[in-house]
Symmetry: C2
């Protein structure tokens, strides 16, 4: 399965290039880390006929999914505090827990578990933002995933850094140390308009330009953030960031729940991207983002899970389904955001947002071989008249059977239904999770 060249024979293949195309009985040819051919199985050239074959004859093959907004190491705080209003949730639960627990080891171990969860759900790339990014990178490289690492910047002191200049310095150093890794790419990640000053934005934007890095930030997640900005700066956060020069084709804005039509036009004109996080936006009562309207205005929109403390599943299948359903009610039109568009958001749109569209996000000759195979032959899948619709409205991450990153099979669900990761024994992952559970749970019982 880790052979350097192989052919995947798939019942269906969705290239995610342009309009909604569904190939039947397709053969995808991989050599090293690249896609070198896409054929009908009956027309597979003789040159490939003796290459090893991966049998996906009951499956849909599609590009690996791209999680456009995550705080992966928060997996260790999954379900730590649910069903609280936003401010008590942050002030009384999440921030104290982060203060108590966040360390390089916490970040490494949480990221490792998050990578496992995402790989087993068909995610091959994620766009992260958290403290101690080098620990996340170590976990990513160990698991063989692809990641876009946000070098986080904020004003206030944490265990990671004392002030904005230190965040910028530590982030730059971390990027310097890992910049040659082929599976990693980088952006600056000023946390949010309300946690980063104009001066720090100006500083990090200068570095971002020098280093050719993008920007990943939270924007317009809540009404409160907008009200506060109007009081403090006299403008809404987007207008402020635009005046600072932060809104451009390398900018990924997480959430974007509260966006007016003129703001959508601005984002489209500037070529900025939205990371839509529907489950998190509901769970924290932030609102329903105007995503179909954003896409109609020409804004590129990808999908994110946010962190496990505000979503609890790093599951892009759930986000695809939820985004398609929510758009219909938001638009009062059941034809809004059809299934194929949800798949685009989770694949090629995410790649565009990260500037990686030449390398990943679709299945095309010359692109890197990030792929996911999904079985569509379970009893609950039948009947199946349209595999594209079924992927979004019927299937779930439990139907993912194979996940390849850069030509290597990194996850497989065995015939017995068990998770198998190429790079790490599942037992080791369980041991890490259980150790943190015991540690955090005993302290939580004292605190709660």
């Amino acid at each position: 399965m880790n052979s350097e060249h192989f052919v995947i024979k798939a019942r269906w293949l969705i290239p995610m290039e342009g309009a909604d195309t569904l190939l039947e009985h397709a053969a995808l040819v991989i050599e090293a880390d690249n896609i070198v051919g896409i054929f009908s199985q009956s027309a597979l050239p003789a040159a490939f006929s003796d290459w090893p074959v991966v049998d996906c004859q009951q499956h849909v093959l599609l590009p690996g999914l791209i999680n456009l907004h995550a705080h992966t190491s928060m997996t260790l705080l999954k379900g730590y505090a649910d069903d609280y209003a936003l401010m008590p949730w942050l002030n009384q639960h999440i921030w104290p827990a982060e203060k108590q627990w966040v360390s390089p080891t916490f970040v490494h171990d949480g990221s490792l578990l998050a990578c496992a969860e995402m790989l087993s759900g068909g995610v091959t790339t994620f766009n992260d933002m958290y403290f101690f990014p080098q620990s996340t990178m170590d976990a990513v490289l160990r698991m063989g995933m692809r990641a876009h690492i946000g070098l986080v910047v904020m004003e206030f002191a944490t265990q990671y850094a004392a002030d904005a200049m230190t965040y910028i310095r530590l982030g730059t150093q971390a990027r310097d140390a890992y910049k040659h890794e082929p599976l990693l790419s980088f952006s600056f990640a000023p946390h949010a308009p309300y946690t980063v000053s104009d001066k720090s934005f100006e500083q990090l934007l200068t570095y971002a330009e020098q280093l050719n890095l993008g920007i990943h930030t939270h924007l317009h997640e809540t009404e409160a953030e907008i009200t506060q900005s109007l009081t403090q700066y006299g403008v809404r956060p987007l207008a402020r960031l635009h005046a600072l020069g932060a809104i451009g084709p390398n900018t990924v804005l997480a959430h974007g729940v509260h966006l007016e039509p003129a703001e959508l036009t601005l984002l489209a004109t500037q070529g900025a991207h939205i990371a839509h996080c529907p489950s998190s936006n509901l769970k924290l009562a932030s609102g329903i983002a105007p995503i179909a309207a954003a896409m109609r205005a020409g804004v590129n929109v990808g999908l994110g899970t946010d962190g496990s403390a505000s979503n609890n599943r790093l599951d892009l299948w759930q986000e695809m389904r939820t985004s398609a359903l929510l758009a219909k009610v938001k638009d009062q039109n059941a034809a809004s955001l059809p299934a194929y568009q949800a798949l685009q958001m989770a694949t090629i749109h995410g790649a565009h947002a990260l500037g990686l569209q030449a390398r990943i996000g679709s299945l095309a000759v010359g692109k890197q071989a990030d792929m996911v195979a999904v079985r569509l032959d379970a009893l609950d899948h039948l009947p199946c008249f349209d595999p594209i619709s079924h992927l979004v409205y019927v299937a779930g991450r439990e139907h993912v059977t194979h996940t390849w990153v850069n030509g290597t099979l990194q996850y497989q669900r065995t015939a017995a239904g068990l998770a198998h990761f190429t790079q790490i024994a599942t037992e080791e992952l369980f041991a890490i999770a259980q150790q943190w559970q015991l540690k955090i749970q005993s302290a939580r019982h004292t605190a709660h």
Copy 2:
């Protein structure tokens, strides 16, 4: 596993009686179709110590889930037409397909597959409404499920009946033939205020009173339905049904998307019940029902999937998660509709709505033994600080391992991850599904 007496030893047990109680290391004792004891494992009386034991030591045990609004046989039209606006969806796709396909065999086979899907997702009881109810009952009895069968009534002619009086007569006959079945109960199911005349309502309400049957109808699913009623009758549909005497403690109203505060008060005063169908309400762009407000007003609310053509998953885990998330954004309060309340909606609230609360809906001595076991030891479940929260926000139907109805194990996921139904070979279910898929698909290709 089908022994007439046994003990289930569970890591956690949620009785769903009153406030949110979570028992640890519990033992549930079953004799014939009844729950005869609930103990701590360490305090299991000697009288039960040599009874057969079902090991659920990594599981949560909870009451079987109750699907409060379904059109089960529409499973054969799953994904038949997605992402269409409501009227083209009905007029150009669903109604023509129903006209072409619906028959006693279609209803039987679709219901059989729906029962399999629901059993494997922990649903033990469903509240149905469709044509040829006797065919649904045959499927239910074959699978060993519990169902509340709606005897459908509408004005217009279908393959099933020519006019409202014929629907009433056929429904009454079907009920007479099956009324002694212990797993079946009944209501009249006037389809909706806009498809049933005052005269037919009066007629069926007379029969319902004579036969002591409840009422199951669609209500206030769309704005259009309300506008039309105001034009035709001068009042909103709820006011009209109330004037007819149809709104009482045996009334289940499906959807209830558009309800004003005074209407919620009326429902609470009358003791009527709402079957909340969040996924379907989103997918058809009907709206977001004011469910947390309804419960605050004192209305009993259960959860439904609706039919497979407007949801695509007969999955109450999805509905629990979606209802909890949607309520938060509807209320602009992340504390709204906490996880335990979602579990109540899917269990004891559903039982109340069907008048079955003395027999099912919670785990208590003397109740009938409808139970579901859910593994919470998958890698994606870790860490787990609160099993109640995890059931709603992290787990999915794929984690259901055992479903018992009336003391009998009717579904089990084997160690190899395969579905095993007690009453039917999985191969037979696949064969039925595939045969219908071929038949419908070939005709669909011609039509589309």
